[in-house]
Symmetry: C2
Subunit: 310 residues, 2 copies
DNA sequence: GGTGTGTCACAACCATTTGTTGTGCGGGTA
DNA sequence: TACCCGCACAACAAATGGTTGTGACACACC
């Protein structure tokens, strides 16, 4: 299905004749005729009833009309998504099963009409993500800085404390534990999604390093043994983007959730963005975060009123 | 923007490498590489970060991902809209400003998830519309039969009485009338949208004939003089299809609404469909109509409880 | 009722594109 | 170090998409 042919179809439908449609598109009448004929051949239906004086839509043509329009609009939106100056706000959320994704979804629902492009740079190191923001390719991220120096021109605000639990398969030694201490957990290698056998980088490596956990690089295709999972409510995620991670485990894995205690692991996340000339939607989003989380604002850093435990 | 290139982009994004994506699509690796390169050139951005061991999405690539998916889904929906056996229910409503369109919209809202293709065969004669239904190209229509014999295999049920009023411009002799009688109205030619200078056929001709009105074929580009307009609530129409008729008059025309009395013109519409093997959504719709309008069912004809005046 | 005009479809030809095969380069692995 | 594996570039073949030229058909006009 050629988009040029679809555009020609729409032009003919609008003008009522091939000649005028061809003029509008800057091609000859014969070319327009060919395009529509090819479209009709591909779809296997007659779209126009040709007469000596113009062409009228058939029933099939009328049925196709709104879908053809929507198709071209979708192409236009796709083009806009990567066009600097026209694109939607781009935010990285590390992982779509985390609290920031839910936060974005709540914001998205409150502000109808806005567009968000949520990306998941899970395997990308914090410094590389910050570089993308600095370069303008990305507008914001939710990351844990944990001592990483913030490059000039960037702003950060700590907004979310991420909580985690352990998921284990039925054969795992901790399968029947009521709870597990963080100290005990450091003795078991943990599988984390999105990591290759080579060098694990990015969000999950940072997460493991924060709690001193060992990473198991085998992966779920060899049977999940243990998995650190975010405690976020994941019911909304499918709606957010219509795109599940291909690392998601199937329901049939019979996983058990083990709480982690003593101490409860808390992973603080900051929203990080580029100072100056903010994307209008970003300004809205930051304001939304402030009204929802901030108590004090000081030196571009505002702290939520539910302070982290550590 | 070539849809094959978009599909290739998605395959590469899913598999993480050009080679596997090419195998999946049944082309060589070089062809897949070329397609994506062409897409990148057209969009002006880098979509993948190529490495010796596969390719990873860039930020721009990730931003494009959901839109690319939606684009292919839109193409699939367009294809399905004209594929026999897979297509949505097709109903003709004569005119999108009429009561049947509102009825369909109410039904559409109650049954979330269904798909409707609303077509407007305004200029098509009743007999031709019935032939389309008989041939299976159309599933149902709202028309006034007015003595037209119903072809074999078709069923009809009278459900709606359409009401009309007169719209006139400020220079029209009836511009300041409080009301106008039907007898008086027959002396003024009425413009009706969608009619050419040649032979007026279809809905508006039937409507004019029903009340003995003369048709003015000049059209609004020469200044609207008088117009018979449906009394339907038109606020919902834009939502129904996203497609306004190009014959709609602009708001700036300063039209006045004159009620028609003595007698009040009533134009009965029947829903007409093909007997046997009904489209599942059609069965739902007919049931919906029955619960909303029917009082008695007899010989496949059920009459609403608010009977027409004539 | 013949003639003219406007519109669409078919045919032949040409240009561009798209795909294939063959090959080189680079990085991770054994 | 040598070997794969995967991607990009080059050259060639096939097919697609465009243009010009022409014929058919219906409506409008005289």
């Amino acid at each position: 299905m050629d988009l040029d042919a679809v555009a020609t179809f729409l032009a003919v439908a609008a003008t009522g004749q091939f000649q005028a449609a061809a003029d509008e598109l800057g091609v000859t009448q014969q070319a327009a005729s060919k395009r529509v004929a090819a479209l009709e051949r591909e779809l296997g239906v007659q779209l126009f009833a040709r007469a000596a004086r113009g062409a009228r839509l058939t029933v099939d043509g009328q049925a196709l009309l709104p879908h053809a329009r929507e198709l071209l609009r979708a192409a236009e939106r796709a083009r806009a998504a990567v066009t600097p100056g026209r694109r939607a706000l781009r935010i990285d959320v590390c992982n779509r099963r985390t609290a920031p994704a839910n936060l974005l979804y709540a914001f998205y629902q409150q502000h109808s009409g806005i567009e968000l492009d949520v990306v998941t740079l899970t395997g990308v190191a914090v410094t590389a993500v910050l570089a993308e923001i600095g370069a303008g390719a990305l507008d914001a991220t939710f990351r844990s800085l944990r001592g990483t120096p913030l490059p000039g021109g960037l702003r950060a605000a700590r907004v979310i404390d991420e909580r985690h639990e352990l998921l284990v398969g039925p054969r795992h030694p901790l399968a029947n534990a009521k709870a597990v201490s963080l100290a005990e957990l450091t003795r078991h290698p943990i599988w984390m999604p999105g990591l290759t056998e080579t060098e694990p980088v990015g969000y999950y490596q940072d997460l493991a390093a924060a709690f001193g956990l060992a990473i198991d690089t085998i992966g779920p295709s060899f049977g999940i043994e243990a998995l650190l999972a975010e405690l976020a409510d994941s019911t909304e995620l499918a709606n957010l983007v219509g795109e599940g991670s291909r690392y998601l485990w199937p329901e049939s894995y019979d996983l058990r959730r083990i709480p982690i205690v003593d101490p409860v692991p808390v992973y603080p996340l900051s929203v990080i963005w580029r100072a100056g000339n903010p994307h209008p939607v970003l300004a809205n989003f930051l304001a939304y975060l402030k009204t929802r989380y901030a108590t004090t604002v000081r030196e571009d850093v505002w702290v939520p009123d539910w302070a982290p435990r550590s």
